[in-house]
Symmetry: C2
Subunit: 148 residues, 2 copies
């Protein structure tokens, strides 16, 4: 098993970051604008990326201001069963986000892509919280030469 790891400092409170990863309207403002579902324990959040595909995340843990855990229940086959883990730590007036996309079976080329892509979405999350405007799909930063 291999994991994607990232760390991002964000100039917003842990509660503010927590809301941005647990409320549908806030998720829509930095990851994909087509987000729906039930962001409660046991609920499933649906993240649609136009014709490119989607991820369905079951909410496993919600610890306000501290930790969120999702498990992928539908989407690309490489993603199914993996977990996305958000650990939030206060730092001064802001928050350090430790991000882990855990449990890839193999370090396939698609995993390389998703690692870079997560970084750009974390930058979008940071921008949303620090400036009020993120860059969610379909207007996200493109890292591929063809469709992302």
């Amino acid at each position: 098993m291999v994991d994607i790891l990232h760390r991002m400092g964000i100039g917003a409170s842990p509660q503010g970051v927590f809301e941005a990863v647990t409320q549908i309207n806030r998720l829509s403002a930095w990851w994909t604008d087509d987000t729906s579902g039930t962001p409660e324990i046991g609920g499933v959040i649906h993240f649609q990326f136009g014709d490119l595909g989607f991820f369905d995340m079951k909410v496993l843990e919600l610890d306000p201001g501290r930790r969120v855990v999702w498990q992928v229940v539908d989407g690309p086959k490489e993603w199914i069963g993996t977990k996305v883990i958000w650990d939030l730590k206060p730092q001064g007036e802001g928050t350090t986000v430790l991000f882990k996309h855990q449990g890839w079976t193999e370090p396939v080329e698609f995993m390389h892509h998703c690692s870079t892509k997560w970084a750009t979405y974390l930058m979008s999350l940071k921008a949303l919280l620090e400036t009020g405007k993120g860059d969610p799909a379909p207007n996200d930063y493109r890292i591929s030469l063809d469709a992302d």
Copy 2:
């Protein structure tokens, strides 16, 4: 051992990307503006980031337009002995870059940071090659709340 993986599509030829990761003046234009040394097999390239620190990379492989391998010989203790591997593949008129920072002993928090930071530098490399202007340190994209 754990690895940092990324993939980036760049609108430039494999030879153009190869030059950007093997010539001192090109490395200076996307990673850190304070780059020096001998970018030949067996040579050491010194990447200085002001007072924050530095990386010394020994050049292990140079396969023009296809592959570059560095080994860290001095710098942060977590980096020493790790390898940085660039695999370049032509894609249409452009290049797909497969990036690996291989051989971390443990997935420490600093590794999370470096994973995200590498993504921002790959975006700088892409910008350099596609627009003529990168964002090398010390004017790079900041992902920490304190010094990067």
